[in-house]
Amino acid sequence: MNVELSHIHKWFGSVHANDDVSLTVRAGTIHGLLGENGAGKSTLVKILSGYITHDAGTIRLDGKPVTIRTPTDALRWGVGMLHQDPMDFPPLSVLENFMARLDGGFWLNRRAAARELQTLAARFGFSLNPEAHVSELTVGERQQLEMLRLLSMGAQVLILDEPTTGISATQKAQLFAALRQLADQGKAVIFVSHKLEDIEALCDEVTVLRRGRVVGHVALPCPPEKLVEMMFGKVLSAPIKPHTVRDQVALELKDAVIRTDRFDLHLEHLTVCSGEVIGLAGLEGSGQQAFLATCAGVQRLARGKLWLAGQEMTHKPHRAFLDRGVCYVPADRLSEGLIAGLTIHEHVALRSPNGFFINRAHVQRLAERAIQTYSIRGAPGTLVERLSGGNQQRTQLALLPDPLSVILMEHPTRGLDIESTLWVWQQLIARCQQGTAILFASSDLDEIISYSDRVLVFSGGRVSKPLEARTLTADQLGYMIGGKF
């Protein structure tokens, strides 16, 4: 089935996630969708699969305009999607997951379904035990199950969103062979990924998205430099961070294994010096968040050891890390970093406990000073959820105790305007000059290069060795984010 998307628009609030996107996928081909974080790939395929609705534009299947507003619509037209996070039912068995759908008769015919599942699985060389519970399966097996279900429902268009994260090499080979076989049968396959390697190995054509827009469309094979350039689309800015690195070790990890819900991240050895800034690059969900949470003691190390300034801290609680001047600033300001329902004043009080009773006048002074120093647009009595994103971030920074040995931050400037961004980094660099080490994750490559001393790249369940930011080129970074270390 040929798929034709034309002039698709989608807004989330004021964010234009898909801006006039047009795309044609021919039956019998595997079409790659490439792009970095927030490029709009997932939004586009979720629209095609009916999971979210588009604001404007048309979808044509085999030349015929169709209305897709719910997953049921999409399934009826033969469009099936494998979501990035498995959309299945862990406590139910493999067979029940296979049968959980609206098509088919009133009665569950277990025997027939099991037979169909086995036949389909055998065709692709998958091996799934129908009686096993999905909670016992690996991510790769759950993916196989979902794919077989979609095929048995007669999917003619198969969409896969970042399917190769967290699956084994064998499973990847099986997946690619299966997709090739499906394309050869005349199905259209849309393969969403940020990994150059996978796109090159699998796809016939590739469309590159950047900031919600289509920036290029090429047939493969094509030189990877070209893809990298389209993906990132610019020459990276130069490092501007002054030298602040001291030769004391602030944080050290050895033989660390960090568990995420999809994979285990291995880190042989890492030392972070006082005053040093380490940028964590890579597609979101590649383990940066788990890494930062682990360094803050919010998450436990699965294996290995961790030291702060020479003192072993493995398996110590978050409180102990806080006492040693380690602070974690999560990306999701309102669900993790700040407490909705409490005011700025109350946040300041929480951070500076002193005695049993709250000295309101004292806290008020502290809050006013913080508001002034950090130019927060709000009063001490303002509820944090009423602040704008930028002011929430300023509040988070204002809440950081002083002095600190290590700051662990996710997306320090996400959603901020240029002025606020510069201002945030001024504050952070001032901290470095006092000897604080900073580790931050960002999806903005400019930010990584500009402000880091060294960079760690996270991709596909792996993490690179630390790289000197000064000598790093855009190409190099692009390749590594694309999974080529």
Binding site: H318, I339, A340, F356, F357
Partner: protein, 351 residues
């Protein structure tokens, strides 16, 4: 196409809450009309029943003191994000522990000392039951709702067992409870009413303590932080486990004290239904007061007056059962919840 503007939800004047309240009152009036009585007469009868005589006022005050203690305790658990449905059990266990203390010491120690010991025992009993629910929640990951409900029945089962078993009245056991304690173990009263000054003082102290703890101390602030968002609180350095257990302990202590007062101030014995449903009523009070300690007082006064005032209803107006009080309380809280929900839903959808 222009980019959508993002609307910030603004708290509108509570049209929905007022609307829900009006609907509630209309519904209640209709209900009374349906059984063939006049709403105004019923209202007058309720007022007379609650405040008509000094005796009745005394009874309102006694109910109010226990209700306030429970409600204050629940302010802590609600603010910690917990539905402490186990409050009835905490109340009952407080009463059982007090009875135990009075049986042990009532005849060997001077009356006031025994009563004081009884109050302390009551507090300990309530704390035990509260912390048990807390431990099940924190360490056993059992929902405090189901654990609490279960523990209520266990506590009540224990009370029934004691009343009919080891502590039964000489002669024949009966649902009216254990043998009443001697008058030296009764709390002194205001004149000839049933209201006891000690209860009033304790309840007022509890209210003051709750208001101060919730609004002036780090303890209250941490409790609210954990209740609003345990994960963010943890990242900001407030460990949830301790706060949750403390909330359960405090609530248990206050409810246990309430149970103790039921024994030494109201019933002077242990009965199988010693809690009188005041724990559950406390939950309604705090929900209607929107979890705010200061608002708890007027709501509790109103609810106590309703509960006591309604007892006379069937005598005055033949068609109206005393359960009307519970109906009014329930309908008001339900209306408040739905009104709040409508407003939030509206705010979330722009206009």
């Amino acid at each position: 196409m222009a980019a959508r503007t993002v609307r910030v939800p603004i708290s509108q004047p509570g049209v929905y809450q007022v609307g829900a309240l009006v609907a509630a009152v209309v519904f209640l009036a209709g209900l009374v009309l349906a059984v063939g009585e006049s709403p105004l007469q019923v209202f007058a009868a309720l007022l007379r029943g609650a405040f008509g005589t000094a005796d009745q006022i005394g009874r309102v005050v006694n109910t109010l003191t226990v209700l306030l203690l429970c409600a204050c305790g629940l302010v802590f658990t609600f603010n910690a994000g917990l539905y402490n449905l186990g409050i009835e059990g905490q109340l009952t266990l407080g009463a059982i522990a007090t009875t135990l203390a009075l049986r042990l010491f009532g005849e060997v120690l001077p009356g006031p000392v025994a009563i004081a010991l009884g109050l302390v025992f009551g507090i300990i009993g309530g704390v035990l039951w509260g912390v048990l629910a807390g431990a099940l929640k924190v360490y056993g990951r059992v929902s405090e709702i189901f654990a609490g409900l279960g523990l209520n029945f266990v506590a009540q089962g224990l009370a029934i067992y004691l009343v009919f078993g080891p502590w039964k009245r000489p002669g024949v056991a009966s649902t009216s409870g254990t043998e009443p304690f001697g008058e030296h173990l009764w709390l002194g009263t205001f004149g000839r009413t049933e209201a006891t000054p000690v209860s009033v003082l304790l309840a007022l102290a509890a209210v003051a303590m709750t208001i101060v703890l919730m609004s002036r101390t780090y303890f209250g602030l941490r409790l609210r932080a954990v209740g609003q968002n345990p994960r963010a609180a943890d990242i900001l350095g407030v460990p949830a486990t301790r706060q949750l257990l403390l909330a359960f302990a405090l609530c248990g202590a206050l409810a246990g004290l309430g149970g103790a007062l039921q024994v030494v101030g109201n019933f002077h014995r242990l009965t199988p239904t010693i809690s009188g449903g005041l724990g559950f009523l406390g939950l309604l009070v705090v929900m209607l007061a929107n979890f705010n300690a200061a608002w708890v007082v007027p709501v509790a006064v109103f609810f106590s007056a309703l509960s006591v005032g309604s007892l006379q209803l069937p005598l005055v107006l033949r068609q109206v059962d005393s359960s009307l009080a519970g109906v009014i309380q329930g309908v008001l809280v339900l209306a408040a919840l739905i009104g709040r929900g409508l407003r939030q839903e509206r705010a979330a959808h722009g206009d």
